[in-house]
């Protein structure tokens, strides 16, 4: 976020001994955006953005406030429709898509400002993530018996596994509106995980958290990536976190692509340093 965090998170020792993540090999492309431009009225939010996300990697999108990071996620999951450009996901090119269609193809996300269903319990919130997988129609559900009950229980078991994974057993039946911020973020991650996503988009999963909560969240993200092999794209302001956990980083500034590469490459990039430190053009 600031120059200080950028530098603090870049001890020279780390670049000599690369993290295990950096040694992993990603070849298969999961998602590719090409020449994306998006504007609202006259305001240009994104200009000619191209990058790709490969299977099983953790891909960070960074940049100053207003750089277009959230807009980029909104484009990927179909909430915004770019005027120009194509998105290729799992080999299929598309220019427009509704959010629920994106969900069907395995894209899940969390939000910068938590978007949970405040009137429902933690359990119900995470259960909503299973909705797409539930096949019985409402007539069966009206009976709550036989196949409908069996289906309900199957999904309950999946959801309970997620609750165990995220260590939120104690708040299972609490309405999420009453939970503290950090736990709400965790429940939101749980809801996204319940969708069994192939691509998980996380919008500032650690904003407003204290160090301990951040460490927990990092652990969850790495575990999800490791255990389930989920591809993750995340927006984060904490450079220490970004440099630690991501495999490759995209840097946006004023809606343009500034740099794209491994954490080390990005850190060494002069343009990125200028954007973060500010530079006197002489």
């Amino acid at each position: 976020m600031t120059a200080a965090t950028l530098e603090r998170s870049a001890p020279p020792a780390q670049s000599e001994a690369p993290t295990p993540n950096a040694r992993r090999n990603f070849s298969e492309e999961l998602l590719k955006v090409e020449d994306i431009s998006l504007s609202f009225g006259g305001v240009k939010a994104l200009t000619n953005i191209s990058f790709d996300i490969r299977k099983h990697e953790i891909r960070a999108i960074i940049g100053p406030n207003g750089a277009g990071k959230s807009s980029m996620l909104n484009v990927i999951n179909g909430f915004y429709h770019p005027q120009v450009g194509t998105i290729t996901y799992k080999g299929q090119a598309r220019s427009q898509m509704r959010p629920h269609e994106a969900a069907k193809t395995g894209i899940a996300r969390t939000f910068q400002n938590i978007a949970l269903f405040k009137g429902m319990s933690t359990l119900d919130n995470i259960m909503t993530g299973r909705l797409l997988k539930m096949r019985r129609n409402f007539l069966w559900q009206a009976l709550y018996w036989g196949p409908a009950l069996k289906e309900e229980l199957e999904h309950r078991e999946k959801v309970e596994a997620i609750i165990d994974f995220l260590e939120i057993q104690a708040i299972r039946k609490t309405p999420v509106g009453r939970l503290p911020y950090g736990l709400q973020k965790r429940v939101e991650l749980g809801r996204a995980l319940a969708m069994d996503p192939e691509l998980l988009l996380l919008d500032e999963p650690m904003a407003g958290m204290n160090v301990e909560e951040k460490e927990d969240m990092c652990r969850f993200i790495l575990d999800v990536n490791d255990e389930f092999g989920t591809t993750i794209a995340l927006i984060e302001h904490d450079m220490g976190v970004v440099m630690d956990i991501s495999d490759r980083v995209v840097v946006l500034d004023y809606g343009r692509l500034l740099a794209d590469g491994t954490p080390d490459e990005v850190r060494a990039n002069q343009q990125v340093i200028d954007a973060y430190l500010g530079v006197s053009h002489d």
Partner: protein, 356 residues
């Protein structure tokens, strides 16, 4: 001491997903059902069964229907009266055109017709939200009011629609000559079954989808809920309940009614039941219906009991004032209604008599 769940452990998810997971609630429900099915009909007078219980039962059904739409899906509707009118008119026409049709089928088909009308008037909900939608549902109310008055095909060229006498298992259950006893059981049967169905719906996937739309429609869409079909299903089911309630109202309560009985004031009455009972609660729908049904009855009885006779005009005006004041009072004291008060009482009971 009495209401405590300590020691009741669930060892599987079936038990935890049960409709009443706590033993005391199950016992309570059994007692309520025993009263409704055995004790009330055994000891209740005709007046009690008809004026209070049947009245309460069909309003409960209408309130459950509106609660599905407004309380669970978050779509405000002022068109309940219109959908009830569709149900009433449809059941009258069906009963006249097909004299051999079973009365239960008449009611169910009327509900389905109301559901179809509900879907049509629910279509704008894709693009319209909140207050704008409330006004749009008024369009349904006024259009349907006009339709049934204007085209006398609906009323078979008479001024009123009538509850056609029908038998069920050999008993006369509808029409002016049927006994309150028989009518009561028909109403109770419908309400018991459809309350159970409503409860099942709101605690399964479709109910969660509705609540997701209510709490945050954008997030709901992003986790894969398609807004239009979900909202339309809520409209359809809500209108189905209202339609069946309208049929019951005509066949079991009024016997003969002019279509303008189902005007906008009826819509408001059901809305008040839902607010006072509790938005997003099936139990609340019953509580609200009981409350609103009892007020006018108490208002006509109370002055005589107190020895203060008041004119029927004044009683009518007082009823309006008391309704209005109660709505405001409830919204201020407990926006979540009687159902929430009941829940708070239960939470207190869990700790009683040692609250610390």
């Amino acid at each position: 001491m009495l209401y405590r769940e300590a020691g009741q452990f669930k060892t599987n998810y079936v038990a935890d997903q049960a409709i009443f997971p706590i033993r005391q609630d199950r016992i309570g429900m059994a007692i309520v059902l025993l009263f409704a099915w055995v004790i009330i009909p055994a000891f209740g007078t005709d007046y009690f069964l008809e004026i209070i219980m049947i009245n309460f039962l069909f309003f409960s059904l209408a309130a459950i229907g509106l609660n599905i739409l407004t309380g669970y899906t978050g779509l405000i509707s002022l068109g309940t009266g219109g959908f009830m009118a569709v149900g009433a008119v449809a059941s009258y026409k069906l009963a006249v055109i097909f004299p051999d049709l079973n009365i239960i089928l008449v009611f169910l088909l009327s509900g389905l017709i109301a559901a179809a009308v509900g879907i049509v008037f629910g279509l704008p909900s894709l693009r319209i939200k909140g207050f704008y939608l409330a006004v749009a549902t008024l369009a349904a109310q006024f259009f349907l009011d006009w339709l049934f008055l204007r085209f006398d095909w609906f009323t078979n060229s008479s001024t009123a629609i009538e509850g056609v006498p029908k038998t069920l298992f050999g008993f006369l259950v509808t029409g002016p000559d049927a006994s309150p006893f028989a009518k009561y059981y028909v109403a109770l049967g419908f309400v018991t079954v459809f309350a159970l169905i409503a409860k099942n719906l709101v605690r399964s996937a479709i109910g969660r989808a509705w609540m997701a739309i209510r709490d945050m429609d954008i997030a709901a869409e992003i986790i894969g809920i398609r807004p239009l079909p979900t909202k339309l299903l809520a409209f359809a089911i809500s209108a189905f309940y209202s339609g069946v309630a309208g049929s019951l109202m005509l066949f079991l309560f009024y016997d003969s009614a002019e279509p303008d009985l189902f005007d906008i004031n009826l819509s408001f009455k059901v809305l008040f039941m839902v607010i006072i009972g509790g938005l997003g609660s099936i139990l609340g729908s019953f509580m609200g219906a009981a409350f609103i049904v009892m007020i006018p009855i108490l208002l006509t009885l109370a002055p005589d009991l107190l020895g203060l006779p008041i004119s029927s005009d004044l009683a009518k005006h007082l009823e309006f004032m008391i309704f209005g004041a109660l709505i405001i009072f409830f919204l201020i004291v407990e926006p979540n209604g009687l159902a929430r008060l009941w829940q708070i009482t239960k939470e207190k009971l869990r700790l009683w008599p040692f609250p610390y």
